[in-house]
Symmetry: C3
Subunit: 139 residues, 3 copies
């Protein structure tokens, strides 16, 4: 059993910018030397999150619209009143969606469905450089 920890860095646009990170993660598994195991995917930061979705333009739009409807930017947040960052909505959305995912892989291949991609969703109100920690454990 071995453990490999890697970081990947993304440049994101913010405002619910959704980035497909599946290929980056597949590369890290391929180069890890681990055949069967689990990858933990964790986003550092409190205004972005990770999940899986079918990465196609319609759903990217639909997911953004859903967040605009459920946790709008233009209502009052005490975070914004106190700190003036204007990203209270981004913090709340990220807490709801969650910072971590765990995905098994077998024979160096992620066990994703055919139309299932791993995405980072950046909710912040400006462009950001994002660090995602990948930890591969297996044999």
């Amino acid at each position: 059993m071995t453990i490999v920890t890697k970081d990947i860095t993304l440049q994101t646009e913010g405002n619910c910018d959704i980035t497909d990170i599946t290929a980056l993660i597949e590369e890290e598994i391929a180069s890890s030397g681990v055949s069967d195991g689990t990858i933990a995917i964790f986003i550092c930061g409190s205004t972005a999150a990770v999940t899986t979705i079918e990465f196609e333009p319609g759903l990217i739009h639909d997911l953004k619209e859903t967040w605009n409807r459920l946790v709008p930017q233009n209502i009052l947040y005490q975070h914004d009143q106190a700190w003036g960052d204007g990203n209270g909505h981004a913090h709340v959305r990220a807490a709801l969606l969650g910072p971590s995912l765990v995905i098994p892989f077998v024979s160096r291949k992620l066990t994703l469905g055919t139309w299932q991609q791993i995405v980072c969703v950046d909710f912040d109100n400006r462009h950001r450089s994002r660090k995602i920690v990948l930890q591969i454990m297996g044999e």
Copy 2:
């Protein structure tokens, strides 16, 4: 430390069909030969998700009603405009609820609360055959 990967297959009805998979997961842990460790539960596919809930008819109804209210089926999704699948709401709900869970077990027993069951929620708009990957790691 050993690692065991298993698949389970469910026949689901779709339309927020909620299946209690706790007993299936307990069986896999019992037969794995691993006493203490973590099980990663991952659903393959982008229109279903996993979580825990008290599995009783009232809450099954309440969870469905919540999704109908928060991410309704009958609003416009660009996914449906583009692909005609009619399951845009299912993709968005699954992305919000998430595809993975991690649960520790000790002496072959899951560390669940008394009224806490592991469920697969199938949001698709039709019946499906669902694969869930279980990866047990421990000693």
Copy 3:
């Protein structure tokens, strides 16, 4: 590779009481003797959940308001009709937010962002004693 399982117990107030558990988790990692690995954080029970957020009073208020808006306490839940517990909203919120988190650590340090704390959110309608299971795996 070693595995260490610990429980922590919290006294919570319920009603969306949010507790910062970062320091407790850092202590368990420090005393585990494991340098690099993953910690699985799992809440036992179906009316509380775990996530990460910037733990400051504004956002604590904003997260509570969001739950009050999205999954209100004062609408009809069949769970409450059947069992009279009055905590149907708490079960639904906990299922949506989720019971588990996985966070990598490197050189005994969690890979959290600067403004990112690990929190337990207790949605129940009364004070509770909460058990959180921590499982550390690494070397």
